[in-house]
């Protein structure tokens, strides 16, 4: 069994006086896993992603990423932790329009203090691997949606993070481009990259991840192998949550985790 990359313990996150966005969630993701977080709008998917990325803090509970408690980090420490250990891919790519592709990709490395020449060499490799090297000098507005997302993935991998977080990575893409990005994520995972994908697209979860977690109203209602999620949005999901997901011993020996390990 590989070491845990993400560990959430009894996490509660509440905005203002409303119901909790995440309600007593515990979860473990191990190195090399490929996990999809699915659920309807307002289920807490983005909150979960923000907590893992250190962009937000829980009201209670703990969030550990790659051995570091991120819920206790200050802004600067969280930023340094993020750029070293987490790569992020967004639905709308979030590329900077006034920088060309290479400058976008090298940015995380430069923020971490890497020299431009070294960063450019790494960016070139990544762009080649991802098949967008011919656009290295172009500006993002000249690329197709799929190409932009590939550039975004290259940028996310720039600092060789142990964890790649993708928030609706195919949400703004046409079907063909979406398939292309899904294949890319699968290949990355096959090479050992831990991937967490937040999506409402079950087809994407099935195609590029091995484990799927379903969130409803801030609680995990299902955690199982992605190839068995056909009925996951039905009512049967909640029963599977009880003891299956909430592994209080921290071992992550849940039904879902086992399925994921099996898939890998």
């Amino acid at each position: 069994m590989t070491a845990p990359v993400i560990e959430l313990r009894d996490v509660i996150r509440r905005y203002d006086d409303g119901p909790p966005a995440l309600d007593d969630v515990s979860l473990t993701v191990r190195a090399g896993e490929s996990v999809a977080v699915v659920g309807p709008s307002g289920s807490g998917k983005s909150t979960l992603l923000n907590l893992v990325a250190g962009l937000d803090r829980p009201d209670s509970g703990s969030v550990t990423v790659d051995g570091v408690r991120v819920d206790g980090l200050g802004e600067a420490a969280a930023a340094r932790h993020r750029r070293a250990r987490i790569g992020m891919v967004f639905q709308f790519f979030n590329l900077l329009d006034d920088l060309n592709v290479t400058d976008n990709v090298v940015l995380p490395a430069q923020l971490a203090g890497m020299g431009r020449r070294e960063a450019a060499r790494r960016a070139k490799e990544l762009l080649e691997v991802l098949g967008v090297d011919r656009h290295a000098e172009a500006h993002p507005s000249r690329l197709s949606g799929g190409e932009r997302q590939r550039v975004a993935v290259a940028r996310a991998l720039m600092n060789r993070p142990p964890l790649l977080l993708a928030d609706e990575p195919t949400g703004a893409l046409d079907t063909a481009s979406g398939r292309d990005v899904a294949r890319l994520l699968t290949e990355l995972n096959a090479d050992g990259q831990t991937v967490v994908v937040v999506t409402h697209d079950l087809a994407l979860a099935r195609s590029c991840t091995t484990r799927t977690i379903r969130l409803v109203d801030g609680r995990i209602t299902a955690d199982r192998a992605s190839d068995g999620i056909d009925g996951i949005d039905g009512s049967g999901g909640s029963g599977a949550t009880g003891g299956g997901v909430d592994g209080s011993d921290g071992s992550g020996a849940t039904e879902g985790a086992t399925a994921a390990e099996r898939a890998r």
């Binding site: 962009l55 937000d56 802004e75 340094r80 992020m88 329009d97 060309n100 400058d103 923020l111 971490a112």
Partner: protein, 789 residues
């Protein structure tokens, strides 16, 4: 509340920073304009009122008694251009004795039967007019303290006549120091003394110096050449009367203009930027049914609400700032109570609000014309990308990446950078101007004080009684004895004695101080505006005020009366000095007659001071203490340092300029803050991306500060020469208003390192304005920022 009203209220409430910026800019412009306008009016009004009421003389001429008789002079009233005239009045220069030990100063006395007349109607302020010989009316500004019942004797005149003060009067152009009945004049005219006649004229046209000259030529055409021994134009008197307040006018005018331009810029920039960032909101307003005119009105009102608040505070500030300045003006005109004139308030308030409304209207017009569909599409359509080349270049610079990312920002939004830069330019210019003004004023005060001496020896000041200075008791020391003590003291490098006597100059009423030096005084801190220092007896240097009042130039001879024999000196230089309105003559002691009877006995010796330069390394305090042991029997005291003079005007000017500069810099910094806040708000998603990629708060602050660096540096580099130019224009104008011809040594105050420091001041203003929004940017929650699509 109507729908547009609600939109305005919510707009003002939501956008606090632009509101504060508009309010402060308006406050400053209104305060400076109000103060400037008030002073322009206040400086002229009292003199103009008095001049009109007293039918003041446009030109007063002094005629030599020998050159033309009264009959010949009466004929001059029919000359072309003369509207009215009075005279001839017999005049004489006399030196009255007002009591034992009281300094005796010469004065011009005129024989007039009554105070009124077609021209120069003298106003009686106390007592009555002289009705018979033996009575005298003193001018309110006379050197002899005008107290009713005081007896004046004239020991220098045959028969030693005695006069009793029966009244106090004031002539608006100061045509004489005292008036007696004409029958008294014979007894006051010394045989062979400087007797004469004076005539006062009003001309049909007298607004310019050229008109006065033309009038003078017309009236003197019929009298023999050389008959005119002195003259005084009302323009000179007016200028002198307005000196104190006129000094402020060019300076306040500069700040007023700076403030107004800044207000227009800031309001235009803020409203345009508000419209720019609220495009989507405007689209929604139009989509729900707002007409273009309603949209424009809503945005104009959003600017007018804070501008109205700023105007109200500006009026208050202007009135408060006017108090110390007007108090000085009141001193000049006695008890006249001056206040800000209501019509100035009205004009300034209407002007400021009108300007804001017009600027806001022009900027908001774009919002009205914006097509609803385009406005709604904002944020979703890609913005035209600018500054990509700069971005690529910055990416290759050996700088931390956040700094590089910040540096290229002005190239992405050139219009906003220009507006922000302009605010910085004005801030830097104001600081540069104020620093220069302070330095110049300091140098002027230094030059006026003539305080180059290390040690000064002076007699104790006379004690003051209810009727003025009390007579001195005890004998006065001989200056030569004091000089001998100083010479004998080790550590003395050089020294000179300075004595002051009083004289009159033909045609100019009032006393001219004659400062005479024993020994070389060229090192004594006298700043020459033109010409050279005195080199031999018979030469004199005079301040600008003397030259303009007497109409003389360097190289001209001038005759001084009231020092016993008439003394003629040749002017060889113009010295910087404003004491006694510049009516001073500096000359060598040997120029003056040995026996200046009344003057020397009671005045010169008593006023003699000795100024000592010490050998290098000599301790001034120890030297003065040692010297005092020897000087004690002589009744004089030595103290370390030169003349100690402070000017309340300089303090007021420095305080005023510092206040106005602070306000201007605050507005500039707020202009920057507004620009950066808008930029930050516009870039919030971009900031979110940076932070998601691992940009730390410190790196975010560095990026935002760097985004204003280029603008700040360029603003400083442009603002500093602008401030220097402004200083070069305004300060000589101020000097001119104050009757000073400022030499280069006083106006060339900027040093290269100082200018460099001031140029970096632009960066400081920029950083000060950007720091707050940089902090906000650093604290922006990434998750929220990323959701901003």
């Amino acid at each position: 509340m109507s729908a547009p009203g609600r939109v305005v209220r919510s707009g003002v409430g939501r956008r606090r920073v632009p509101g504060i910026v508009i309010g402060l800019a308006t406050l400053m412009a209104v305060a400076a304009s109000l103060l400037g306008g008030t002073l322009v009016v206040a400086s002229g009004a009292p003199f103009d009122d008095a001049f009109a009421r007293q039918r003041g003389a446009h030109l007063s001429l002094q005629f030599d008694a020998d050159a033309g008789g009264p009959g010949q002079l009466s004929g001059t009233v029919h000359a072309e251009g003369v509207a009215a005239a009075s005279g001839p009045f017999r005049t004489a220069t006399v030196t009255p004795h007002a009591g034992e030990g009281v300094p005796a100063w010469p004065m011009t006395v005129a024989g007039r039967a009554r105070p009124g007349g077609a021209v120069d109607a003298v106003t009686l302020t106390d007592g009555k007019w002289a009705a018979r010989p033996g009575e005298v009316v003193l001018s309110a500004g006379s050197a002899v303290l005008p107290i009713l019942g005081k007896r004046l004797t004239f020991p220098g005149l045959p028969g030693e006549p005695e006069l009793t003060v029966v009244g106090v009067a004031r002539s608006v152009t100061g045509t004489a120091d005292a008036w007696v009945v004409p029958a008294q004049m014979a007894a006051l005219t010394a045989p062979g003394g400087a007797g004469g006649y004076q005539m006062h004229y009003r001309f049909t046209e007298a607004g310019t110096a050229a008109r006065i000259t033309a009038g003078r030529e017309a009236v003197t055409a019929a009298v023999p050449p050389g008959a005119v021994s002195g003259e005084q134009s009302w323009l000179t008197v007016k200028e002198s009367a307005e000196h104190d307040t006129a000094l402020y006018v060019p300076f306040l005018l500069a700040f007023g203009v700076l403030g107004l331009v800044m207000s227009v810029l800031v309001v235009g920039n803020v409203v345009a930027a508000t419209v720019g960032t609220a495009t989507r909101r405007i689209g929604i307003l139009k989509a729900v049914g707002f007409t273009p005119a309603q949209v424009v009105r809503a945005y104009v009102a959003q600017a007018l609400v804070p501008a109205a608040a700023g105007t109200a505070l500006g009026v208050l500030t202007g009135h408060l700032l006017a108090v110390p300045v007007l108090a000085e003006t009141e001193e000049v005109y006695g008890s006249t109570a001056l206040a800000v004139t209501p019509w100035i308030d009205a004009v300034v308030v209407a002007g400021a609000l009108g300007l804001v409304a017009a600027t806001a209207w022009a900027s908001a017009w774009r919002a009205g014309r914006l097509r609803t569909v385009d406005a709604l599409a904002v944020g979703r359509a890609a913005r035209p990308a600018r500054g990509r080349r700069a971005a690529r270049l910055a990416g290759r610079l050996p700088l931390p990446r956040p700094v590089g990312l910040g540096l290229v920002r002005p190239f992405a939004r050139p219009a906003r950078a220009l507006a922000t830069g302009t605010a910085i330019v004005f801030g830097a210019a104001a600081v540069t101007f104020t620093v220069g003004l302070g330095a110049t004023l300091g140098k002027v005060m230094e030059a006026k004080a003539h305080d180059a001496a290390d040690v000064t020896v002076e007699p104790p000041p006379p004690e003051l009684g209810p009727d003025g200075p009390l007579p001195r008791t005890g004998p006065l020391a001989d200056p030569a004895e004091i000089a001998a003590v100083i010479d004998a003291r080790p550590g003395t490098a050089r020294h000179h004695a300075r004595a002051t006597a009083r004289a009159t100059v033909a045609g100019v009423a009032g006393v001219t101080e004659v400062v005479s030096f024993t020994g070389d005084a060229s090192w004594g801190g006298y700043t020459m505006s033109d010409g050279r220092w005195i080199a031999r007896p018979g030469e004199a240097v005079v301040p600008t005020g003397f030259l303009s009042a007497t109409g003389t130039r360097i190289g001209d001879p001038v005759t001084l009366h009231g020092l016993g024999d008439a003394v003629t000196v040749r002017i060889v230089g113009e010295v910087l000095d404003t004491r006694n309105d510049g009516m001073e003559v500096f000359t060598d002691a040997a120029t003056l007659p040995d026996a200046a009877p009344e003057a020397s006995a009671s005045s010169v010796a008593g006023d003699t001071t000795h100024h000592i330069a010490l050998e290098p390394g000599t301790d001034a305090a120890a030297y003065a203490a040692a010297l005092n042991e020897k000087l004690e029997p002589l009744g004089v005291t030595a103290r370390a340092g030169g003349d100690d003079r402070q000017s309340s005007m300089v303090l007021t000017l420095n305080a005023l300029s510092a206040t106005l500069t602070l306000m201007l810099v605050a507005v500039a910094a707020l202009g920057v803050l507004n620009g950066v806040v808008l930029d930050t708000r516009e870039r919030v998603r971009e900031l979110g991306i940076h932070k998601a990629l691992g940009m730390t708060p410190r790196q975010t602050v560095a990026m935002v500060l760097a985004s204003i660096c280029v603008t700040g540096l360029v603003g400083g580099a442009v603002g500093v020469p602008l401030g220097v130019t402004l200083h070069g224009l305004v300060v000589p104008a101020m000097g001119h208003s104050a009757g000073l011809n400022l030499p280069e040594s006083v106006t060339d105050v900027y040093l290269a390192p100082q200018l460099l420091g001031l140029a970096l001041g632009g960066l400081v203003i920029a950083a000060a304005g950007a720091l707050l929004p940089a902090g906000w940017a650093a604290r922006t929650r990434t998750a929220v920022a990323l959701r901003t699509e």
